[in-house]
């Protein structure tokens, strides 16, 4: 009798789990694409970033170890295969040829860094960020702008850094869209093998990211501050946005 009861209860739980699984599967977003452009031996772009112009691979020697760096170039077929030696500078803002699309990723990791003599040191301290923020918008509008990151030395974007946007008294922290940065590097491990290709910010090469943020309800001139890896961190820049009633 007990066995029969157990069997019925087990079947009941089986059905309940199956139903929960079906509901959960139905809520799942679409799976990611196969990262064809990140497969070693391939430098193809993802289809949505077509058409592909040219991909170039260079090998750098850093600290006695070899770092394989792959750059995937975006743009039209007749675009130049390499960036011009002098990057255009507008209003003090350096803009890369390609813009990494916006992706609303939630912050991805705890604050990185360690203290040296009481001072917080992070992997991103050598990064210089520029951008231009401004305009007149209404509450609920979407403010769009770009952020260009550049460093004198190569900086790994793995883990992918967070950034914060302070809009007046409001703020949001997200993670950069590192998955679509068009540069990848593979570094040697201690055992002599090479790591997987990871998104990277190459030395002396600007990488521009698209940004989007909703305009909050506060009216008037609002300071919009962009900072990398936390609201109190550098690098960063700001601009003034005038928020007017709709």
């Amino acid at each position: 009798m007990d066995d029969l009861m157990d069997e019925q209860l087990d079947e009941q739980m089986d059905r309940r789990l199956a139903a929960a699984g079906r509901r959960w599967r139905a809520e799942q977003p679409a799976p990611p694409a196969v990262p064809v452009d990140r497969l070693p031996g391939s430098v193809r772009r993802r289809p949505r970033w077509q058409p592909v112009a040219v991909a170039a691979a260079v090998t750098l020697v850093v600290g006695g170890g070899t770092v394989a760096l792959v750059r995937v170039t975006l743009g039209s077929n007749d675009a130049p295969s390499e960036r011009p030696s002098s990057t255009p500078v507008t209003h003090g803002t350096r803009v890369a040829d390609e813009v990494v699309p916006f992706r609303a990723s939630r912050r991805g990791h705890a604050k990185v860094g360690h203290r040296v003599d009481g001072r917080l040191v992070t992997p991103y301290d050598g990064i210089f960020a520029t951008g231009k923020i401004g305009g007149t918008l209404h509450p609920g509008d979407v403010l769009t702008f770009t952020v260009t990151l550049e460093s004198s030395a190569r900086v790994s974007l793995h883990p992918c850094p967070n950034y914060s946007i302070g809009f007046g008294t409001h703020g949001i922290t997200r993670r950069l869209n590192c998955a679509q940065v068009p540069y990848y590097a593979s570094v040697p491990r201690s055992d002599g093998t090479m790591s997987d290709f990871r998104p990277t910010l190459p030395a002396q090469t600007p990488v521009t990211f698209a940004m989007r943020v909703h305009v909050p309800d506060d009216l008037g001139a609002q300071k919009v501050l962009w900072t990398l890896d936390g609201p109190m961190s550098e690098p960063g820049f700001y601009g003034i946005v005038h928020v007017t009633a709709g």
């Binding site: 789990l17 064809v36 070693p40 998955a179 997987d196």
Partner: protein, 160 residues
Amino acid sequence: MAEGGTPTDFAHWVEPSLPILARYAARQVAADDRDDVVQEALIRAWQRWSTYDESRGTPAGWLVAILADRCRRHRTRRPAAVLVELVDHGVAEPSGRDLDLERAVDGLSRRQRQAVDLHYFVGLDVAAVAEVMGCAPGTVKATLFQARARLRELVGDDDG
């Protein structure tokens, strides 16, 4: 190598398994990390594609086994706090979900949780679960039976 040999061939070969991989990753890591972990696993699978032997299992089973390894690495290299979901205004509250049961699943042993995730939530049959877990199908059935018994204890038999 199973078929072809170019990244595009690999993408075609992998594509039918992508929903399964995404589901498994979603059960193992924070939602925001799902795509990154799946893509890391696919890069790893590409590097090892030549070792795939179709006589030893399905592509999905082989790929999920690689993904399971990447998920483990992902969890160990990040602080636990990372897995805490933060505020996201773009995600609606789940509706109609059996939250009591889902919470109870978190209380299972690691092995039981893996079997339940793979079978009920990812949607693999017992043979494929056995392939991923590296055991016999009978062992999977026994693990699932034990997991269901434990879940009944955790949620109460009368809650169904």
